[in-house]
């Protein structure tokens, strides 16, 4: 029965980010959430446990603020979670996140399969999965839309630009899953109550074997501007004609 690890990230909900007057990002009214793609990863891990047995362990790296995220993640089905936290784990780059995850997963957790989302909904660099696999020296199969386990072997269907690639590898393996691999369950009241009884193992920076330095320096992070006309029409006949004429004038309709 497979020991499954699933990694998740507690992120700013981008829908609440506003642009300030000089293009700076206004985070004043933001909410946080489990990264959308990671919900699929957690769901897939839990579905695999329902089918094949075994266990599901969630792992996250973040600031103490991510405590809420642990409960949220556990309400989605994992048996327990590791919370690697430090006040300095605020804007880690993918190489640091992967290094820290590998440090803890490699030394403290027994695993056969690691399930990650294809990217995070804040940075969407799509690096942590493959980087984590490299660090742990296990194969990575990315962009998976279907997963099955047979004995010690994982079979994974990758959906790539030009078609599907069906691959197989002996466990341990890391996979990154596509959003359409499943529909994440919405936790109910019972799930939330159960989650508060589950074990959370806290790991601090001092428990890590090394410091993971950054390679990238973010020199600016500003609101993306889209320069568009923003001309609005109503639905009456004169407006409809006006809209069609505007497109003809642009020369984009022939």
């Amino acid at each position: 029965m497979p020991n499954i690890v699933t990694c998740f990230k507690w992120v700013i909900d981008e829908a609440y980010i506003r642009a300030g007057s000089s293009g700076e990002l206004d985070f004043r009214s933001v909410n946080y959430k489990i990264s959308d793609y990671d919900r699929n990863a957690i769901e897939e891990a839990v579905c695999l446990r329902e089918e094949y047995g075994g266990s599901v362990t969630g792992v996250t790296v973040g600031t103490p603020q991510a405590t809420k995220g642990l409960k949220d993640a556990l309400s989605r089905g994992p048996d327990k979670a590791y919370f690697i936290k430090d006040g300095s784990f605020e804007s880690l780059e993918p190489s640091q996140t992967a290094g820290i995850l590998a440090d803890v997963i490699g030394s403290k957790i027994e695993y056969d399969l690691i399930v990650c989302g294809e990217g995070s909904s804040d940075l969407y660099a799509q690096q942590v999965g493959p980087r984590l696999a490299e660090r742990l020296r296990i194969p990575c199969i990315s962009f998976v839309q279907k997963l099955t386990i047979e004995g010690n072997q994982i079979t994974a269907e990758r959906r790539l630009e030009h078609g599907i690639e069906v691959t197989a590898a002996p466990m341990p393996v890391l996979v990154t899953v596509l959003p359409d691999i499943n529909t994440p369950r919405i936790p109910g009241v019972k799930d939330t109550l159960m989650a508060s009884k589950k074990e959370i193992i806290n790991i601090t920076k001092d428990d890590l074997t090394q410091i993971y330095e950054e390679h990238l320096q973010t020199t600016s992070m500003l609101a993306a501007s889209m320069e568009r006309n923003c001309v609005k029409f109503g639905a009456d006949p004169a407006d409809i004609t006006g809209f069609v004429e505007a497109l003809l004038k642009e020369g984009v309709i022939r």
Partner: protein, 319 residues
């Protein structure tokens, strides 16, 4: 030996990266090297289009994934110490780049949408989107090589130049990967490629029933376009295949004209259409965020507006 290195899955992407690679290599006074595994015959073509060196990898057995090359590529990079390493941002390319960057203990700018070599500091300034496309993040990298994945069609293919000379270097075969490819199923082309369409009509949650998709299709047909959709339509409703889902994690489209029908305009979706020449939106909610991203918006019930538009467009395009 240093230099600018490029890695892409096919000829077309390689030519695009040769264009930016040549530019950077010339500015830095260094050489440009390209990886190749699709056959030696392409090496001369890459050289004539700007490469100073082609690093030729032996072809893989049928059951081996492209990732099998990672150890050989990383070892070569450790030996040769390139300054810059650009990889085509295909799905395989992104995975390979992340693995190679880890082996080289360096940073990687994913989906880099702009890059500029600072004349004074000689650092490569890179831009990418963050927060679903709501923000632009500018990064530099302090370790070698500076790595980035470059989206498809960001650069024109490099032009052929007469009389160029270059070297071909044979690299060793990689050890077999423990991942085996059991089967490859090429995509069946159902519709025309949406990324090539000049008009894209996009279906959003405002479409109430599957049979109403006919309305969107009719509008697309009148305009000689294709239809696409937002994520809920493909992922939850399954009315269209995933390949037609437009957005950050779906396809990116660059049509002359995009028309969103009942599309609310979530930032992830808007990121997938940001390169459209003209963006139009039809939505009954006048506060829908799509209107901030649109050149022309119609506030109204799409079931009322679209049939009228079809009539108007028919008149306009046949006259």
């Amino acid at each position: 030996m240093a230099g600018v290195w490029i890695l892409a899955e096919n000829r077309e992407q390689t030519l695009e990266l040769l264009n930016i690679g040549r530019d950077l290599a010339s500015k830095m006074g260094t050489k440009l090297a390209a990886f190749l595994w699709q056959g030696r015959e392409l090496a001369e073509e890459y050289i004539s289009h700007g490469a100073d060196e082609v690093m030729l990898l032996p072809s893989l057995p049928e059951d081996q994934p492209l990732d099998a090359y990672i150890p050989v590529i990383a070892e070569e990079a450790q030996k040769e110490d390139p300054d810059i390493f650009l990889v085509s941002a295909t799905m395989r390319g992104k995975e390979m780049a992340a693995c190679i960057a880890t082996r080289l203990n360096t940073g990687l700018c994913s989906d880099c949408i702009a890059l500029n070599l600072n004349d004074e500091s000689k650092t490569l300034e890179m831009e990418r989107l963050a927060f679903g496309g709501a923000a632009v993040q500018k990064v530099t990298c302090s370790t070698r090589p500076v790595m980035a994945t470059i989206p498809l069609r960001m650069f024109e293919p490099a032009e052929k130049q007469d009389g160029r000379k270059g070297e071909i270097k044979d690299l060793p075969a990689p050890p077999p990967s423990s991942v085996k490819v059991l089967e490859r199923k090429p995509k069946e082309r159902e519709a025309k490629d949406i990324t090539e369409a000049s008009v894209v009509v996009c279906v959003g949650r405002g479409i109430e029933k599957e049979e109403d998709m006919a309305l969107a299709r009719e509008l697309a047909d009148v305009l000689g376009g294709e239809i696409g959709c937002t994520r809920p339509i493909s992922e939850e409703m399954h009315w269209l295949p995933e390949e037609l889902c437009i957005g950050l994690s779906g396809v990116h489209v660059k049509p002359e004209c995009y028309i969103g029908l009942g599309v609310s305009g979530q930032v992830q979706h808007v990121t997938g259409i940001r390169d459209a020449k003209v963006i139009c939106a039809i939505n009954k909610d006048e506060n829908a965020p799509i209107f901030d991203a649109a050149d022309y918006g119609v506030t109204g019930d799409l079931y009322d507006v679209v049939p009228k538009l079809i009539e108007e467009f028919k008149k306009a395009t046949t006259s």
